[in-house]
Symmetry: D2
Subunit: 359 residues, 4 copies
Amino acid sequence: MSYNTFGHMFRVTTFGESHGVAIGCVVDGCPPQIPITVEEIQRDLDRRRPGQSKFTTQRQEADRVKILSGVMDVDGRQVTTGTPIALLIENTDQRSKDYSEIKDKFRPGHADFTYEAKYGLRDYRGGGRSSARETATRVAAGAIARKVLPGLNVRAALVQMGPHKIDRANWDWNEVERNPFFCPDAVKAKFYEEYLDDIRKKGSSIGAVIEVVAEGVPAGLGAPIYGKLDSDLASAMMSINAVKGVEIGAGFHAAELHGEENADEMRMGNNGPTFLSNHAGGILGGISTGQAVVARFAVKPTSSILTPRKTIDKSGADTDISTKGRHDPCVGIRAVPVGEAMMACTIADHVLRHRGQVG
Amino acid sequence: MSYNTFGHMFRVTTFGESHGVAIGCVVDGCPPQIPITVEEIQRDLDRRRPGQSKFTTQRQEADRVKILSGVMDVDGRQVTTGTPIALLIENTDQRSKDYSEIKDKFRPGHADFTYEAKYGLRDYRGGGRSSARETATRVAAGAIARKVLPGLNVRAALVQMGPHKIDRANWDWNEVERNPFFCPDAVKAKFYEEYLDDIRKKGSSIGAVIEVVAEGVPAGLGAPIYGKLDSDLASAMMSINAVKGVEIGAGFHAAELHGEENADEMRMGNNGPTFLSNHAGGILGGISTGQAVVARFAVKPTSSILTPRKTIDKSGADTDISTKGRHDPCVGIRAVPVGEAMMACTIADHVLRHRGQVG
Amino acid sequence: MSYNTFGHMFRVTTFGESHGVAIGCVVDGCPPQIPITVEEIQRDLDRRRPGQSKFTTQRQEADRVKILSGVMDVDGRQVTTGTPIALLIENTDQRSKDYSEIKDKFRPGHADFTYEAKYGLRDYRGGGRSSARETATRVAAGAIARKVLPGLNVRAALVQMGPHKIDRANWDWNEVERNPFFCPDAVKAKFYEEYLDDIRKKGSSIGAVIEVVAEGVPAGLGAPIYGKLDSDLASAMMSINAVKGVEIGAGFHAAELHGEENADEMRMGNNGPTFLSNHAGGILGGISTGQAVVARFAVKPTSSILTPRKTIDKSGADTDISTKGRHDPCVGIRAVPVGEAMMACTIADHVLRHRGQVG
Amino acid sequence: MSYNTFGHMFRVTTFGESHGVAIGCVVDGCPPQIPITVEEIQRDLDRRRPGQSKFTTQRQEADRVKILSGVMDVDGRQVTTGTPIALLIENTDQRSKDYSEIKDKFRPGHADFTYEAKYGLRDYRGGGRSSARETATRVAAGAIARKVLPGLNVRAALVQMGPHKIDRANWDWNEVERNPFFCPDAVKAKFYEEYLDDIRKKGSSIGAVIEVVAEGVPAGLGAPIYGKLDSDLASAMMSINAVKGVEIGAGFHAAELHGEENADEMRMGNNGPTFLSNHAGGILGGISTGQAVVARFAVKPTSSILTPRKTIDKSGADTDISTKGRHDPCVGIRAVPVGEAMMACTIADHVLRHRGQVG
């Protein structure tokens, strides 16, 4: 049972609401003696932090992380001890806002109606538990996960906004940190600037596709049949707020391919087996091949928009709602570091699971 | 840890290799007093059984299921007892085939290389554990899962083969059982017949997209944050052999939508809240809305093809391989009942989980 | 995998070291709409708090608990929301003590050697993660667990100290709160006062036996075969620091009984089936009978004693060690509220699990 | 959730009723390339098999085990493949007995009433799922578990029958296989012969205490706080039918000891750290010390006895019941190999869990 826990051996349990006292997570099962500093975790958090450009919500959260446990000083180095690592981020921007508008109305596209249907109540302040704010704790946990497998390199990028895909010929990882969209195509990033600003000004929103690439993953990770690496990645990515689709390697495009085109041929290389292509996205039969693991996920447009939408209220009466205030015109942007974190956590978990069974 | 177990409260553990003594599963956690007969399970298995048309492998498996435990006669009715239900399917078509060709070579697109990389050995006979044969046990478990939630109706259909999508205006569920493709569009089914026969004759293969629809799912199922209904569905579908992508509702198309288009508006209906569209695929914030739950998954083309492909052997030498023998030109077809089974198992699990927490 | 998590549906994950920043826990899976206040949790914590008599460690911890998430105000009442409840207790009495003595020596009876053997390092400050301080978070979680099943009444008492058992004829639950030993026998409590004071003055320590009784548990809780209620209680009690034995009902005494003596006979009562005795401790076949659930556990003497003991240090040299400072002469005393908490958590978990499967 | 599954990484799922078609288990997560033959498994099963002396039930079950999956021939050796190992034992002695007597009456001390209370029905034939017959599958799984850790030696013995304890000075492991009681004390075994025969003839029964000892367990196994080795052993032993108490090392006797007596002192030996005693039973802080792991469990007397006992029937009427037929006068005897199996499975699980986290 894992309502708020992700992973089996490298386990992340998160807690906290958007406008509560604090959010945080407990990372359990992390190997001991891994060097980790609060600064490293903060660095990842800062990449996700809102309010860094006009293209993300203007909510001002310092998002300062504290390590409460599981890390100690050994000869001047901060290292993990093998016991649970608790991370805490206090909520500082809890405006005493007027929530009367959304308190009793269900915002279309949001989890308002479903939380109410499930629990009989909901924390309506800023989305409560269903707020994307929870993803900050994933990013914090991911910073630790990245260090479990030496040589692991997890990066992500926005590869599509609305119908506009990047030109893969322009892919430059360095470009990702140079624009506010985590976009690896400088030309398209330029285009997005105007495109998204227009959407933002209209109080509208747009969807996106994010690609996550993990390099340095050895062959052999993943545990068939129901612990497949791709199965767990699908679960990981789909658990991110607003995600509606996940694919591995060729993904949905594989449906259009013939067997000859899709199967990645092999040849012996200087450093072991090599593949001549990577339609598989680095995973065959649920187990990593040693190639880069490639996952992609689709993020729906932000549901908080200015245009009034039809809805009902808690009493069952028909009404309309429009959401004013601080919102991301494209939540897909801030999902980029979150996708990295989920990839890192999934791989860290499988490193430990594989080592456990196979040694 | 769930290498070969799916689900938390409604738990399915499967076992068996393609060419071993038997395959089977243990369904644990099933509520007591649910009427279930071996005939009902067999009926679902027969839909998946190979060799029923020229478009599926000609392997002849009777796939006769036996109930070993967990079901007893009460006043002439077979009902579950609440204890584990073990189901067994003996392998009858274990041809004493010559495996020398594939024993030492890694078939591109198959799990040969990765199983060997992980375990240091593999059961090369018919794919061993990674064979699609394992999915028969999922279908058997799914037959039980369907009965956990009264009123649940889970159906699936093939909606795309290669680049050829069905025309949704032609959708007729009755049509699904009338053609060998589980295709709801009679016109497209006619087209597929010639299209796939051509591929089959060439010894090639093609991918497909399957859509699974669950009706009768009440609002409130699904457990945020890491036990979201869509997260578990993504894991479930991605665990099916050859699946490379999963989407919910609008799925990847949601990336192209504006907030106004994507959010499903609400109005009060005669029987409670209604939605004016279903881009969400019946799930918001990881919790079911009461609308139909809609998932889609992409199946890659069968990797066993006649055209020789470059590969290496266990000694590390470059070589070529082509796969002769009985294979599905489009494995996506037989994935249709498997997708239904995974949907049913996921929902059954969430029914019990929800009832446990919320009552 | 549950290194630091207890329970399946009512899940408690704890974190924190004795002398770190804070300790705490995350309670996941708790049903929504359960009224709970920070004062109720504090009340239970205060019963366990050290320094309340000369018979417990003089460490001064305020043990003030904070609720970080999962509880909200609904019409003036604090209620659970169904999302994770995070509880935090800051460590305030972190004396800048000199740890050089125990930093490199393994204290016999403590977890020093084993943590070092497992992780290659250990937090030597006050026992780190293996400190009994962790049990404060269990008590906090237990305060919530108690409220999951209306009518549940969980109480515990010290029934033996050293070789001195209480006289069960004197059992008075009210007496438990009147002496510093949680002892239900006033006469024996009087005796313990002098007995333990003598042990304390000598810098020695002594073991104890605690009995936990849960009333108001309906028949039907517990899930055979490996989720038996008694199996989970055994695990729960044995997980408490210094516990070396657990028994249910007649326990080890059952080994001495004949079948005629042991089996609890039944008769029909006015309010349903009644039992004429309770050797079973309220559990048959792993499932509750509706009688009081009775568990007992043995606590070894505190390992921190004044008398020097032979040991080795990290370099492998033979040496001696004696522990000065603030320690409990009988850790069994403070285990009483912890035993209650573990009983409450186990039952809450099984209430949800039972409801999930059976409805 | 693990109703019928034991373990986390080395997972055993069992199924089957006493008088159903078959019983069996699925062992998941076992490392690959471990040599195991059906004969080795059968050998362990034969030790537990009933009907081998007049002191165990005369039920005649061949208990022939079949391996259905997960083991393959590699160069003439049977080895595990890393995929699930399914083991099947068909029920051959399903007498068409008249169950009308127990069908509607609840046998005191049995699980009849509680299964009925939980599930609303029960398989009354021979105890159904709650029959000790299920333990055969544990023994089969244990035979595999024993091989996971090279050098592991798990043995058990009956150390008390009724009030009669063995003389530990007489302990001889060789003696265990020479008498029908698995008793290591030849003198006491002689005594038990007459003692138990008398009980048997009277149609009565008696309890027992079993001790399980695991040698060759390295320091470092066990995962605090809720995955402690002793916590999991307590759960494992308490899950065995009729067990009412579990203790580790000094166990309940530790309650009577002073700190000076209880703490196991250390000295540096030629092959690393040594302990001068083993009150801890090889476990400190939930982690193995490298000493022998010692667990003891109490088995209640068989509830099926000839003397009529008061009970009620399903209609709620008062009645009497006495159990005729084939029963063990001391079920503790056959619990000896079961205790070994549970110890082996617990340790195998922790070997993999430890290796996973720490490497």
